[in-house]
């Protein structure tokens, strides 16, 4: 969706402000949010793209005024209720009022090491790769109302395939519960001027990792 999360190229947010000696968490609840997300992912409650999609659906004013972990919490609450894992009255009460639903598995202390390792996103190819390194491609001008990983600033632009990363689960499908729909994934590199116009720094190149359905030959 064309949401506020897709901020590449926007002006007006000001300078980047690094924080010296930043702690892993600024408040204890941030760690709980992160860990809950991990545990629910391990349990198979939903995929990471479903979590991203829920954050993207937050109203823009909420998205911009919430911290990173606040957004995670809000997205987690939406997914928990939308997927029927708990109801709003239970979250409001801070207690379960009804039985839970069965999940695939549960992250227990002995499994934490395993639960913290990222899963693989490689999937069995359904067709041969359409592109190879060196090919010129144009990204599609698409505006799905649902989750996509093709940023707005890189739509309808001509670039070159630089790397092929194998066949991966396709986030646009996963986020809408349409299965993995495996797609080839490529690094596509653009000249800065193709993205930002003739006045842009000629010594800048920008790449995205693009799934094959985002691309046409150019």
């Amino acid at each position: 969706m064309d949401g506020i999360h897709d901020m590449g190229g926007m002006d007006g947010f000001g300078k980047v402000l690094p924080e010296a000696n930043e702690p892993p968490f600024h408040e204890a609840w941030e760690g709980r949010v992160l860990a809950m997300q991990r545990a629910l992912g391990y349990a198979g409650a939903w995929h990471i793209d479903v979590s991203r999609a829920a954050q993207e659906r937050l109203p823009p004013q909420v998205y911009l005024t919430s911290s990173y972990y606040q957004r995670w919490e809000l997205a987690m609450e939406s997914n928990v209720t939308e997927r029927g894992l708990a109801d709003a009255d239970e979250i409001a009460a801070g207690h379960a009022l009804r039985e839970g639903k069965p999940l695939m598995r549960k992250l227990t202390p002995d499994l934490v090491q395993q639960g913290m390792t990222r899963g693989s996103f490689f999937r069995q190819a359904q067709a041969p790769a359409r592109f190879k390194p060196g090919d010129r491609v144009r990204t599609r001008n698409i505006h799905p109302r649902t989750h996509t990983r093709l940023p707005r600033y890189a739509r309808g632009r001509v670039g070159v395939i630089e790397r092929q990363h194998g066949c991966h689960a396709f986030p646009d499908a996963v986020a809408t519960d349409r299965g993995d729909d495996p797609q080839w994934l490529y690094t596509v590199v653009f000249d800065g001027r193709e993205l930002w116009g003739a006045d842009a720094d000629p010594m800048v190149k920008v790449s995205i990792d693009a799934f094959e359905p985002y691309l046409d030959p150019a």
Binding site: G9, P24, G31, R32, R52, S120, H168
Partner: protein
């Protein structure tokens, strides 16, 4: 927010979906063990061992797995070598994708709107915010992490470090230089 998070945790625990003891261990791991020192070891090894460096550039995940990290590295880690001709810088404009297993949790600035919005359009300006100025003839290559590939920058080995041990080399490697918003420390900054 603290109360709200506690409410959700209680509900999910009582429903049987999560185990708070497992949550404690995850938090502890990120607070104590998983951090940029993991990535610094990878960089130092690449600086000292040409065969490892080549393996790392060919398949980052596979090469890092041979090092026995605290947190095992999943697939799709891609290592980007800085050269005098090209400086690499990593961003995730759409959310905040970051190579957690080798760098730990992303800093707040990496997840912030200023960085996510500007890194792809004005990378030289962003580098200036970090006090980094590169020669005009150095190409800046920005990698937007739009899929599950994760990027780690392999910075250039600083001059005057010939014969240094891997441990000493690792002390030159900052988190920011592995994201591409910084450069490694100079040899005289480390004893």
């Amino acid at each position: 927010m603290q109360l709200r998070v506690r409410a959700l945790e209680s509900v999910l625990t009582e429903k049987g979906y999560i185990d708070p003891a497992a949550l404690d261990l995850i938090v502890e791991a990120y607070e104590t063990r998983v951090g940029p020192h993991n990535g610094a070891r990878v960089v130092a090894r690449a600086w000292s061992d040409p065969a490892f460096k080549q393996a790392l550039l060919e398949d980052g995940s596979k090469a890092v797995r041979t090092m026995g990290h605290e947190s095992r590295v999943g697939d799709h880690l891609v290592v980007l070598e800085n050269t005098p001709a090209q400086h690499n810088m990593v961003v995730c404009t759409l959310c905040s994708c970051y190579p957690w297993e080798v760098l730990g949790l992303p800093p707040v600035w990496y997840k912030s709107a200023p960085y996510r919005s500007r890194a792809v359009k004005d990378p030289r300006g962003v580098l200036a915010d970090f006090g980094v100025k590169l020669p005009k003839e150095t190409q800046i290559r920005v990698w937007d992490s739009t899929a599950e590939t994760r990027f780690l920058v392999l910075p250039t080995r600083p001059a005057g470090t010939e014969g240094w041990s891997e441990e000493r080399l690792a002390s030159l490697v900052t988190r920011d230089c592995m994201i591409g918003t910084g450069l490694p420390k100079k040899s005289e900054e480390v004893r």
